[in-house]
């Protein structure tokens, strides 16, 4: 069951997969919706201030909303956890989106900032927070601008809500992690704080207060659950994975971009909707932090965490990349691993030293510069890096690398024998880079 399918899918960025799925994306235009336009589509902000604390949390629990930032933690559980702590709390709206293959959060912020702010404000009421910190990447001053304007609009129109502070945070891959944001908001560097004996943000976060950190899309869904209720939310998607989600589709597709789908829409359908080329055989699910899969093995699988888990995949932050047939999957992966290695916070030895070693091994493999021990060395190294860091950065890179060795097994053998891979044989090859890797940005700037 994938929800209602009325209506014709559009092609422009942000348009929904089907009319029934136009929830967050309802009424999207080419620019940010003004407060008036936002209220015309979604109605005014519902007020729950008079209800008991945790009221919203109950509704969100019943709705079954899970975090849309990639980890998929049950949002209602988080709300309950923070609401249940003593003293004033803090809400952090995470709009960092460091995953290069994902654009949905930034698109959401640029089109519907009031939806995100509604959700943040309702969450703040629910957990008794008097401040909302909206964290945006320093590389996108335009987004900070949109949100600041929206905040000013709300103030002028007399909406009484928790103070909203907009921050432009150093934009490294690991800076979007919850503990990185808390650390930065506390005056430190935007690096994960993991370690032993540390508190989780919901216990003690910003200024030692219970802190709720939620992805901006998650907050947008909260804003609508508060208006229409849990039953409405569950009317789309799957019973065990309800609602809609934003996805970013890129690569060998004629209509790359962001769209909203019922959770659990089959992978192949989403790709077809965005115009995937018929010769695509491999797809990256979950982003640069995700895994490669042969399309024929996953096309019929619903895009949801539970349904993808058996094949070792996860939707992550709703990212699908279709590998062009002319591209070399190993070369693309080598570039991504080089990027991920460079994005280590450098706090933990196995990540700071292990990832560059693995990236170098992969680069050699992709170039066909293989020595007899390369594959064995690579496999051995991959086996030692998981679970040894303060955050999941090395784990994600290892998962990506391991999935590439499986999905591109033929190419691995070809490269190991110093022969051209299937991509090179077709006239494409490692020169045709298709997956964008951000240029290193202000590498020393973490604060």
């Amino acid at each position: 069951m994938t929800g209602r399918h009325a209506g014709h899918p559009g092609g422009a960025e942000g348009t929904p997969y089907a009319a029934g799925a136009a929830r967050l994306t309802a009424g999207w235009r080419t620019g940010p919706a003004s407060l008036r336009e936002h209220q015309d589509v979604h109605g005014p902000l519902p007020h729950h201030g008079h209800r008991r604390p945790g009221f919203l949390a109950e509704a969100v629990v019943q709705a079954g909303l899970t975090g849309r930032g990639g980890a998929g933690f049950p949002t209602g559980t988080k709300l309950h956890a923070v609401a249940g702590r003593r003293g004033p709390a803090v809400v952090v709206a995470n709009g960092m989106e460091s995953e290069p293959a994902s654009q949905k959060d930034h698109t959401l912020l640029a089109r519907a900032p009031h939806l995100v702010l509604d959700g943040a404000t309702l969450a703040a009421e629910s957990v008794r927070a008097d401040v909302v910190h909206v964290c945006l990447p320093r590389t996108r001053p335009d987004l900070a601008d949109h949100v600041r304007r929206a905040v000013a609009e709300r103030e002028r129109s007399g909406i009484c809500e928790a103070a909203v502070k907009v921050h432009e945070v150093p934009h490294h891959y690991v800076s979007s992690e919850e503990t990185s944001l808390v650390r930065w908001l506390n005056g430190g560097e935007a690096r994960p704080s993991g370690g032993l004996g540390g508190s989780r943000p919901f216990e003690r976060g910003v200024r030692r207060r219970p802190t709720l950190v939620d992805n901006v899309e998650t907050l947008a869904h909260v804003a609508l659950i508060a208006r229409y209720g849990p039953a409405w939310f569950r009317d789309a998607g799957l019973a065990d994975a309800p609602g809609t989600m934003l996805v970013t589709v890129s690569g060998a597709v004629s209509r790359p971009g962001v769209c909203e789908i019922p959770v659990g829409t089959p992978v192949g359908e989403v790709l077809a909707h965005r115009g995937a080329r018929p010769d695509v055989t491999t797809v990256l699910i979950g982003g640069y932090f995700g895994t490669w899969h042969e399309l024929r093995a996953v096309a019929a699988l619903p895009l949801s965490a539970g349904r993808l888990r058996p094949v070792g995949a996860s939707p992550g932050a709703g990212v699908l990349v279709a590998l062009p047939e002319a591209a070399c999957g190993l070369a693309e992966t080598a570039r991504i691993l080089g990027y991920l290695a460079g994005q280590s916070a450098g706090q933990c030895g196995p990540c700071a030293l292990g990832l560059p070693s693995v990236a170098e091994d992969f680069a050699q493999l992709a170039d066909g510069r293989t020595d007899a021990g390369l594959l064995g060395r690579l496999h051995r190294r991959l086996g030692t890096l998981t679970g040894r860091g303060a955050c999941r950065h090395p784990d994600g890179a290892v998962r990506l690398a391991a999935s590439a060795l499986t999905a591109f097994a033929e190419d691995v053998q070809a490269h190991a024998r110093h022969q051209p891979c299937t991509a090179a044989a077709r006239g494409g090859g490692p020169q045709g880079h298709s997956l964008p890797v951000p240029r290193p940005w202000a590498e020393g700037e973490w604060q």
Partner: protein, 71 residues
């Protein structure tokens, strides 16, 4: 009563004294960082050596956690 070793990965700088003092429980990877054997519980016999390893760590990255089977 048994104990388990825990490592703070951020504090650890790869000095490697733990592996020297407690090879039964700690290996080093090729970059000199400790690999704690997942199945190693520190029994009474190994405990003094484990305590020595914990004290020897220059960055206090290694810790011993008591495990009470009754709790």
């Amino acid at each position: 009563m048994t104990h388990r070793l825990q490592l703070d990965p951020i504090a650890c700088d790869g000095h490697g004294l733990c592996a020297d003092l407690l090879p039964e429980a700690v290996d080093l990877d090729e970059w000199g960082f400790p690999l704690l054997r997942a199945d190693t519980v520190i029994g009474p016999g190994l405990l003094p050596h484990a305590r020595r390893a914990v004290s020897a760590c220059p960055t206090l990255a290694l810790r011993l956690r008591r495990e009470d089977p009754g709790r």
